[in-house]
């Protein structure tokens, strides 16, 4: 087997591994070689990145309200996982029940306003199964009337915020700002995005006549932020108003003004 044939055979092996096409023996061979051959591991990552970019094109679909409850039941009914030398599994410590916490919903509503996504996200408290359907109904009502205010894109070279959308030379939004029917604002990513390890995403807004930006708060782990009606009213959302996300140290900007890199920026249309 010449070098080219060997490389092709290795590539077939790596792709087969990523696509789960290998039998148990083939998987073992790949895993052993990956441990011993950094160059092979590098090639694996490049193929993996391609596969992930294709997966990222898939339309996200909201998890049902029952999903986490069902998963929790299955987690708790499963046999404890043996992890030699490690502490036994523990609760997250965030409340009386693991899933009794704020969680996102990602309903897909289709394109709106001729160009923007209808994807919406919001937060929902799940105190228990009895409240799930009512909360979900309220949530659906809020989201069904969501109005797109701004699409936030990566900062262009030159540093100027985009003046507004255009179809002639499109770019892809990273986050969108929506106004829900209760007056709250929802800032959420259009694909999974979050801060680097040890960093947080902070959302800012600056009205056209304001001297400096104001923080709207820190985004959740999934990159979204819901700004409640009263705060949203104070922040405003008038035409030309700027919204941006920056990456900041844990706990948020130490100065009260953006200090980290701007991940996305845009204006209310």
């Amino acid at each position: 087997m010449n070098d080219q044939s060997r490389v092709q055979a290795d590539d077939d092996l790596l792709i087969g591994y990523l696509l789960q096409e290998l039998d148990a023996e083939g998987q073992s061979v790949v895993l052993r070689r990956l441990e011993a051959e950094p160059e092979l591991a590098g090639r694996l990552r490049s193929y993996e990145a391609l596969l992930l970019s294709l997966a990222d094109r898939v339309e996200p679909v909201a998890l049902s309200a029952e999903f986490r409850l069902a998963l929790e039941e299955r987690l708790h009914s499963a046999q404890p996982i043996e992890r030699p030398g490690q502490q036994p599994a523990r609760k997250s410590g965030r409340g009386p029940g693991f899933w009794s916490l704020i969680q996102p919903i990602w309903p897909w509503a289709g394109p709106s306003a001729g160009f923007a996504l209808g994807l919406s996200v919001a937060v929902l408290l799940l105190p228990g199964p009895d409240a799930v359907s009512l909360r979900a109904q309220q949530q659906a009502q809020l989201l069904s009337e969501a109005r797109l205010l701004a699409a936030l894109t990566p900062l262009p070279s030159g540093g100027l915020a985009p003046a507004g959308p255009s179809m002639s030379s499109p770019v892809v939004a990273r986050w969108v700002v929506e106004q829900l029917s209760d007056g709250s604002l929802l800032i959420r990513p259009v694909r999974p995005l979050g801060a680097s390890a040890g960093r947080v995403l902070q959302v800012w807004t600056k009205a056209p006549d304001a001297e400096r930006p104001t923080s709207l708060g820190l985004a959740r782990a999934d990159g979204s932020l819901r700004v409640l009606p009263e705060q949203a009213r104070q922040a405003g959302a008038v035409e030309g108003q700027l919204f941006e996300l920056t990456e900041e140290p844990a706990g948020g900007s130490p100065t009260g003004l953006p200090t980290g890199p701007v991940l996305a920026i845009g204006r209310v249309m």
């Binding site: 970019s53 294709l54 599994a89 699409a151 262009p156 959308p165 939004a173 995005l193 680097s196």
Partner: protein, 179 residues
Amino acid sequence: MEAETDWHAEQLAGCARGDQACLERLIDREGAWLKGVCIRILKDASAAEDALQEGLLRVWGSAAQYRTTRGSGRGWIYTVVRHSACRAARDRRLECSKTQPWDPDWMEDCADHGSADAASALGRLDGCLEQLGAGRQILEAVVVEGVRYADLAQQHGRPLNTIKTWVRRGLQKLKECMT
């Protein structure tokens, strides 16, 4: 944002320690997309959630086996969940070989600031997929729809090795185009 991969690996490390909050965070960020992947394979939302639960339980239970040499944390999670969906599809005797037309790009074009820097990876991907011609359908069938090599070989009346070669060449062309 460069440390995206590290974030997933950190959550996997937390899962390996038994920290359920890490699994929760993974679901927060990736759940909707993982469900989308499962739906593309299973063609059924309810079955997709079952497969996703199965996959996440496997992520939780085998997170200690994850090594950085096995790829990125995010890639490993998608591989595990995808495997669950493919296995569920086989169990359901689904005809995975029936590929569907590619969905319209869900990433809408939103703004124009005249900067090539802002052109997204997804935008480039569109153009590169176009260049693959017929190979695009094969690649999407295998990667997105979860169609097995053996099913494609039967569908196209070609040897298994030919399918492997098609997939490899498709991915290599895509990689070259994206570079």
